[in-house]
Amino acid sequence: MADESGVLVLGDVAAGDLSLTSLELLAAGRGLADSLGQELAIGVFGATLDQPSSQAISHGADKVYAVTHPLLADYQVDVQLVAMEALVKEANPSIVLVARTNQGRELAPRLAFRLGVGLAQDCLEVSVDASSGKLLANRPVYGGNAVAVVSCNYSPQVAAIRPKAYEPLEADASRQGQVVSFPVEIDASQVRCQVVETVKEEAEGIKLEDARVVVSGGRGLGGPEPFSALEDLAKQLGGAVGASRAAVDSGWVPSSYQVGLTGKTITPDLYITVAISGASQHMAGCSGAKVIVAINKDSEANILREARYAVVGDWEQVIPAFAEAVRELVQE
C-alpha cells in the first residue's frame, strides 16, 4: 500500500458505549494526528453504533467508521480480526492504535501479522518523530526493568497502548466529525473459536481497575486468611482488594485479583501494598498509582524504592492498628 495517511484507532463498545480504553486511544491518537497534521479516525464494530459514534467524535475523532455486521454484535476473535483487517485496508492509515486490553492482547499481534507489519507492543507513550514523521513508541521491557524506544519499519505502523497510559480528552459536544458506514463481509466459517461457558470469579463491590483506593496483599501474608482483613480495610476506604502474582500462584485469591504486567493495570489515588516485595513485574501494573504505601518487614524490599510512605514492620502488628485508626478517622 502507498499513500498511507492519518491515524486509525480500533475501538470497542462496552454495554452500548464506546469503552474507556477506546477514549484513551483517541487521546493518544489525537496527539499523533495533530503532530502529523492529519486526520484521526476510529473504527467501531458492532450491530448498532449510533451512540459510540457520537461519543467518538466528542472525544476527538474526525471520522468514525461504523463497521457493521450481525456477527460483530458479540465479540468473537476470528470475526473481529476479519473486520479489523478489512477496515485497515479501506482506511489505509499511516498509524494504527489498538488497546492492550485482554482482547487487544490477542487482536493486535494477530492483526499485525496479517498485515505483514510489526507491532510496538504494550506502549506507555507514543509520539511522532519530528524529522522523519515516524511513530516513536516507548515500551517497558524486561518486566519493566528497562524501557525500549522502537519504531516500525513497515506501514502501517501498529502500536498497542497499555490501558490507563493516556487520559481521555474532555467530551466536547460541539466537535464535528463524519460518520461513515462500512459494512464488512464475514463468512461464518471463519469462526474457529467457540466460547462454550463463561465463569465469573470477581470479588463483589467496586471493580479493581476502577477503584480509587486499592489494598493489595502478597507472598508475605503467608496464606489466604489475611485477605479478609484486607477486604475489611478496603471496605472502610471504599476501595477494592488486589494481589501480587505470588498470592495468586499460591491459590490464595483468584487470578482476577492480580495486579501487574500479566494481570490488571490500576491507577488508584492510593495504593496500599501489604507484604508485597515490589518486583518490577508487579510495579508494571501499579506505577500509575498517585500514592503508593508499603507495609513490609524488609527495609531492603524494592517496594520501598517505589513507595511514597512506608511502615517497616510485620503486617500482623501493623494492619490491625492501622485498620482501627482508619475506622476512627473515616467515621469522624
Binding site: 476473535v77 485482554n102 492482547r105 490477542e106 499481534p109 494477530r110 499485525a112 501479522f113 496479517r114 507489519v117 510489526g118 507491532l119 507492543q121 516513536l136 517497558p140 521491557v141 524486561y142 518486566g143 526493568n145 528497562a146 524501557v147 525500549a148 524506544v149 522502537v150 519504531s151 516500525c152 519499519n153 474457529r192 473459536c193 466460547v195 462454550v196 461457558e197 463463561t198 470469579e201 470477581e202 483506593v213 495468586v248 500462584d249 487470578s255 482476577s256 500479566t262 489515588d269 492510593l270 513485574q281 503508593i292 524494592n302 520501598l304 511514597r308 510512605y309 512506608a310 511502615v311 502488628q317 501493623v318 494492619i319 490491625p320 492498628a321 492501622f322 485508626a325 482508619v326 478517622l329
Partner: protein
C-alpha cells in the same frame, strides 16, 4: 494416532536475578548479564511444557520442544526433556538474534513446525520475560493458519478439538477450537512439575536436533525485521520514600493512618 504436540520455549536471562545486577549497555542496546547468573527457560514456557505433559499423562502423545536463538546453554534447554518431553529441536544461527522483533522469530518457529510436520497442537508461554512481546505464538498461528486460543489455564484435547479454560479480566471462559491449534498458557496453569531423576538420566542421553537458517524454508522478505530498536534504558526512579516510625509496629500503623489523613488520601 498419538497427539503430536510442539512446545515453543525460549532461553531468557533469569528474571529472578537481583535487580542490582540488572544493567543495560546503551551502546549495544542490550541487557548485560553477569556470567555468574545462568539463563533459564522462560517461566511461562515451563507452564507450556507442563500443559503438554498433562495431555501426555492422560492420552497417547508426543512432545517436541522447539527453541530459536543464537546460542544455547544445553543443560538449561534440556530441562523440558528431563520433565518428560520427548524431543528437543534448536534453531541456532547467528542470524537468530534475541531481538525485539517478534515477526522474524515467529517465521523461523513456524518454518520449523511446518518442517517437522503433522502437529495437532502448538503450546507456548503467553510471553517471554525479556522483551515481554507476547506476539510470537499468535504470529505462528497466523502464519500456519492454525486456530488460536490465548491465555489458557487448562488445556485438554477431546474429539479432535482443543478445549481451553481461558483467563478473562473477571474470571475465565471455556473455549473450544478445531485442531491444529496454537494455545498460549499463563502461570495460572499451575506449578510446572519437577524433573525426576529418571527424566534427568533420559535427558542426558538425548541429543537435540540443531537446524541453522539454511535448514529452514523462509522467504527472504519474511526475515526482514519489522521493528527498529532505537534506544534501551533503565528508567529513573525519583520517588522519595518517607518511613513512618512509631513506638512499635502497631503504633507506626496508627501514625500511617494519621499521615494519610493529613495528606487527604483517606
Amino acid at each position: 494416532m498419538p497427539i503430536k504436540i510442539a512446545v515453543l520455549a525460549k532461553q531468557v536471562i533469569d528474571p529472578e536475578m537481583p535487580m542490582a545486577a540488572f544493567r543495560v549497555d546503551s551502546e549495544s542496546k542490550k541487557v548485560d548479564t553477569p556470567a555468574t547468573i545462568p539463563p533459564v527457560v522462560n517461566g511461562f514456557d515451563e507452564n507450556a511444557v507442563e500443559a503438554a505433559l498433562q495431555i501426555k499423562d492422560s492420552q497417547e502423545a508426543t512432545v517436541t520442544v522447539i527453541s530459536s536463538g543464537t546460542e544455547f546453554a544445553l543443560d538449561v534447554m534440556k530441562k523440558p526433556l528431563s520433565m518428560g518431553a520427548d524431543e528437543l529441536v534448536l534453531l541456532q544461527d547467528q542470524a537468530f538474534g534475541n531481538t525485539i522483533d517478534s515477526f522474524v522469530t515467529a517465521q523461523l518457529l513456524a518454518a520449523a513446525v511446518r518442517k517437522l510436520d503433522g502437529f495437532d497442537l502448538v503450546i507456548c508461554g503467553r510471553q517471554a520475560s525479556d522483551w515481554d512481546n507476547a506476539q510470537v505464538p499468535l504470529g505462528v498461528a497466523e502464519i500456519l493458519g492454525f486456530s488460536c486460543i490465548s491465555l489458557g489455564k487448562k488445556v485438554e484435547v477431546k474429539d479432535g478439538k482443543v478445549v481451553v479454560e481461558r483467563i478473562t479480566s473477571d474470571g475465565y471462559e471455556v473455549v473450544e477450537a478445531p485442531l491444529p491449534a496454537v494455545v498460549t498458557v499463563s502461570n495460572e496453569l499451575g506449578q510446572p512439575r519437577y524433573p525426576t531423576l529418571r527424566g534427568i538420566m533420559a535427558a542426558t542421553r538425548k541429543l537435540p536436533t540443531i537446524w541453522t537458517a539454511a535448514d529452514l524454508d523462509v522467504e527472504t522478505d519474511q526475515l526482514q525485521p519489522r521493528l527498529s530498536l532505537l534506544d534501551l534504558f533503565v528508567p529513573e526512579r525519583i520517588q522519595q520514600c518517607e518511613i513512618i516510625e512509631g513506638e512499635d509496629a502497631a503504633d507506626a500503623g496508627r501514625q500511617l493512618a494519621l499521615k494519610l489523613r493529613e495528606a487527604k488520601l483517606i
